[in-house]
């Protein structure tokens, strides 16, 4: 291996309290490192990332004339920048630094202190033999575009949009449905205060519409995203409503005039409990107040033989049956994803009879049933119009189950209590709650449970095994029989009811994977968007400049969603106000002296950063476009391409260092 006599390495190993020191013998690593070539100084310290830890590097650099720094501590994804800054403060180019991950990659994942220490020594040796070949580099500064894209117009997206727009920044709010409002718009009352969802949500919705800083793009989806933090180029496709949005005033004359005199088609907003026409508005307070045509049911689109009575009824000429999807390009600096969740599909739990027995409802359907603006005007009646005298509410449907979703959906206990209360209020029926564990961790939540316990609602601790119409006596005839063990008593109970409510859980939206790909972020195992750190960076993602909030990150109730939306907005504003971002200089460049012009590299570049110079007959990398993946480097038969920070010699030295003492 080549050597570099100039390098004077300062080595530091962090105890991280007990996090590292308990499993890695840090003093022995420090002693070991001191004897390695080029190492001038080796120290261990309790918390290297603390101020005194960083100060130490500063002082040592001066006293010992260090020109390379190696710190063995946690993951570089966490603290590389911290130590690079300390290196820079010490008057050393920040890229003469190498970090050794002995916490996430060693102390936290091993059980044998001796072997973990051996591993730490190997990693340290590798870093020291690598850092010797580091080169001085400069970070590139790029200004941040202050405009923000928010995807998803549920309560999270709405809150974040208002937060950011109120700070004077331009916001584009993209919603895939014809209206913003999300699931909250469907709810009747909200727990635990029982205030009406519409009363607190609709003012926010119209505030979004009216805000001069917010451009609302409803019925639109993000098709593609390019660029990087501070400078994203976004393509948004607006789906055709067949109504010119700017012209429609929401008078609904067209709906009355529709050739379908009776509404015939399942109404999505009412969970299919009512009907709508092909030309419709999702709900009265829809924002924007613009009708749309469902081209799958509209006669005009199906046969071309409709007199278009709707269009004729419009005195503003707002109809345009030839509308096509329109794609618009936006330039933004930061992106907030608030794309929400989807409710668990109750048909995936066949043992509860949803779809088989008409009187088995999902909780969302019941939200609409109890809602004064719902399909029955708030009158809780079964499909045969009778009023239920007994109701069973089954918790954890689809949740906490290895066959469906393993996680707790966090909101079901509370909303089941709320529905129990509302159903009791509306019907005075006997109400049974079947729960596995009652989870009420929130402000005022346990108090709400207390209230329900005293309202005459029955609570049975046991997971329901089956809902069926198998009656074993007269009492059960014609009813739905719920079978569960009352685990607190230790006996199996069969409870006949008129109505069953399935408290369906929260799961990742069906398009979550597509969204994740478009925005180049990760999902956790269950499919929710992955935050950068579960505690310390809960709204950031691994892609700089893209933030997440609300139930797309994990099951969440309204207060938590709003709080997280605020956090994400603050993060975005902080980035915007810093004015610029620094880019890693890990780009690649081509040595023209070696390039033969074979052009193997050109098509490998996903960003078209490599071009062929016909006159010189060599290829050239545009470093402004290069993102630093290094795939061209490995392809070059001449060895003409070098990637900064990941040079062949640096990596080969690392390999050598890992394996050879």
């Amino acid at each position: 291996m080549p050597i570099n006599d100039e390098a004077r390495v300062g080595f530091y190993i962090c105890h991280c309290g007990h996090n590292i020191a308990n499993m890695v013998d840090v003093t022995s690593v420090a002693e070991y490192a001191a004897k390695l070539p080029n190492v001038v100084l080796s120290r261990d310290y309790k918390y290297m990332c603390s101020d005194p830890g960083q100060e130490m590097i500063l002082k040592d650099a001066e006293v010992f004339k260090l020109n390379r720094i190696v710190v063995a501590s946690c993951s570089p994804l966490l603290h590389e920048n911290t130590f690079r800054n300390a290196t820079a403060k010490a008057g050393i180019n920040q890229f003469y630094f190498q970090m050794v991950n002995i916490r996430e990659n060693a102390s936290w994942v091993h059980e044998d202190k001796e072997l973990a220490t051996v591993k730490a020594k190997d990693l340290v040796r590798a870093a020291i033999s690598r850092v010797v070949f580091h080169k001085a580099l400069e970070k590139k500064k790029v200004p941040v575009n202050p405009d923000v894209l928010i995807v998803g117009g549920g309560i999270s997206g709405i809150s974040a949009a208002l937060n950011i727009a109120n700070a004077g920044k331009k916001v584009y709010l993209v919603e895939k449905d014809p209206t913003i409002g999300g699931y909250m718009a469907k709810f009747d009352k909200t727990f635990p205060t029982l205030d009406c969802a519409a009363c607190i949500l609709t003012p926010k919705m119209s505030a979004v519409l009216k805000h001069p800083g917010i451009t609302l793009m409803s019925y639109s989806e993000v098709a593609a995203v390019e660029g990087y933090v501070g400078n994203y180029q976004v393509k948004v496709t607006r789906k055709p409503r067949y109504i010119i949005e700017e012209k429609c005033v929401g008078c609904f004359a067209c709906i009355d005039a529709c050739i379908f005199k009776e509404a015939k088609f399942s109404d999505e907003f009412n969970e299919g409990l009512s009907k709508r026409k092909p030309v419709y508005i999702p709900f009265p307070q829809a924002t924007p107040q613009v009708v749309l045509i469902d081209d799958k049911t509209c006669i005009h689109f199906k046969t071309g033989k409709c007199p278009q009575s709707c269009a004729k009824a419009c005195d503003r000429n707002a109809f345009d049956f030839d509308q096509k999807p329109v794609t618009q390009e936006l330039e933004v600096g930061t992106i907030l994803l608030c794309t929400g969740f989807q409710p668990f599909d109750a048909a995936r739990a066949p043992y509860y009879g949803y779809g088989r027995y008409p009187n088995v409802y999902t909780s969302l359907e019941v939200e609409r049933l109890v809602n004064a603006s719902g399909p029955t005007g708030g009158n809780v009646v079964l499909r045969d119009k009778t009023r239920p005298k007994s109701i069973g509410i089954i918790h954890c449907v689809g949740s906490r189950d290895e066959k469906t979703n393993k996680w707790c959906s966090r909101v079901c206990c509370m909303y089941s209590l709320k529905l129990a209360h509302l159903l009791k209020e509306h019907t005075d029926a006997e109400i049974y709650n079947f729960y596995i564990d009652m989870r009420t961790p929130g402000k005022g939540y346990e108090e709400f449970y207390d209230k329900l316990l005293n309202e005459g609602v029955h609570f049975i601790r046991g997971r329901v095994a089956e809902v069926s119409d198998w009656a074993i006596n007269e009492h059960e005839k014609g009813k739905l029989v719920i079978r569960a063990e009352d685990t607190l008593i230790g006996m199996v109970r069969r409870i006949p009811v008129d109505m069953v409510v399935l408290a369906v859980g929260i799961e990742p939206g069906k398009d979550a994977q597509d969204i994740r790909r478009v925005f180049n972020i990760s999902c956790s195992n269950e499919g929710f968007f992955l935050e950068r750190h579960p505690k310390l960076a809960p709204v950031e993602t691994f892609t700089d400049g893209i933030f997440i909030a609300g139930a797309c990150q994990g099951p969440k109730d309204i207060p938590d969603s709003v709080a997280q939306a605020g956090a994400a907005a603050a993060q975005a504003l902080a980035l915007i106000d810093s004015g610029f971002v620094e880019l890693e200089p890990n780009t690649a460049f081509i040595n023209e002296e070696l390039c033969c012009g074979c052009q193997v590299c050109i098509n490998l570049c996903p960003y078209h950063a490599i071009t062929f110079d016909e006159t010189k007959s060599v290829s050239h990398i545009n470093e402004a476009i290069c993102k630093g993946c290094g795939t061209c480097v490995a392809a070059c038969g001449s060895g003409a391409i070098t990637q900064n920070l990941f040079e062949d010699q640096q990596i080969l030295s690392e390999i050598y260092g890992l394996l050879v003492e």
């Binding site: 066949p350 043992y351 069926s468 119409d469 198998w470 074993i472």
Partner: protein
């Protein structure tokens, strides 16, 4: 089309009618079967209760013989045997310790099993391989107006089988429909018949059969069809006793689905063992 065939002990004794009707139906459909040579008992639930390794080993022996006979697919009609085979395969596939131990034993007996045999239930073969359209064409005397309650029992569809819907099985209904009959939707399709409990905990065993018979009857079924020798035996042979003891007439024809198919296909009753039944015979209109 040729399959290996593992009858199991029941089909040679109390479930004799299952075997003769199954073979008659398969023959009519042009499905050839060859009985596994020198097979042994699958061990059923009892072996698992006494010694699990033995249970796995003796079933693995049958699999090894099947593999030796180059039988890639083997029909196993008895629900308990069927489940036992699937369980053995599962254990041998997922548990390397079991796999090695069992293969060791097999080797000493001059056998080996590499996991190639595919176990299929006749329902699987009929519905998923031949297809109900093909079956319908063979129904020379469609069972018009006959209401059929399909009874799957337990081990046929869970926990390992994949040929039918575990929660709402339908293959027997599909067959009944193909034979011109009308399936009855009822909630006890896959509720346990108590197995051998009719001989051990008689009171409980009879009561469990009672609810099944009663529910099928109350849903208007003319006949219960089954695909398991023990279910059929329990429901058929004890229904008289149940009716007497509980003072409620729950008697109803209980047939193997293959007997029902045979009837529709016009196979003579004698070849289907219909004359040897104890439950009332199905009245054809």
């Amino acid at each position: 089309m040729k399959y290996l065939y593992y009858p199991g002990c029941s089909l040679k004794s109390s479930g004799k009618l299952y075997e003769i009707s199954l073979l008659a139906v398969l023959k009519r459909l042009g499905v050839e079967v060859e009985e596994l040579e020198n097979w042994n008992c699958c061990g059923a639930t009892n072996y698992m209760s006494i010694n699990e390794s033995y249970a796995i080993e003796i079933t693995a022996r049958n699999l090894a013989i099947a593999e030796r006979m180059v039988g890639i697919e083997m029909i196993v009609p008895c629900a308990a045997c069927f489940m036992g085979f699937l369980k053995t395969q599962k254990y041998m596939e997922s548990d390397p310790v079991t796999r090695e131990k069992v293969n060791d034993l097999l080797n000493k007996a001059g056998l080996s099993y590499t996991g190639k045999v595919k176990i299929r239930h006749p329902l699987d073969v009929l519905v998923n391989h031949l297809g109900t359209d093909a079956l319908a064409k063979t129904a020379e005397m469609p069972l018009k107006g006959i209401k059929v309650a399909s009874y799957y029992g337990c081990q046929l569809i869970r926990p390992y089988a994949t040929f039918d819907d575990q929660w709402n099985p339908h293959t027997m209904d599909d067959i009944a429909r193909a034979m011109g009959a009308t399936p009855v939707d009822w909630p006890l399709k896959s509720r346990c018949c108590s197995g051998s409990m009719t001989s051990t905990m008689t009171g409980i065993g009879l009561r469990m059969n009672y609810v099944i018979l009663k529910e099928a009857k109350s849903r208007g079924a003319d006949v219960i069809i089954t695909a398991c020798p023990l279910c059929q035996f329990n429901l058929e042979c004890f229904q008289g006793k149940i009716s007497r003891k509980l003072k409620e007439d729950v008697r109803i024809p209980v047939m193997y689905f293959t007997q029902l198919m045979g009837l529709a296909m016009g196979i003579p009753a004698k070849q289907l063992g219909l004359k040897q039944m104890l439950s009332p015979s199905l009245v054809l209109t």
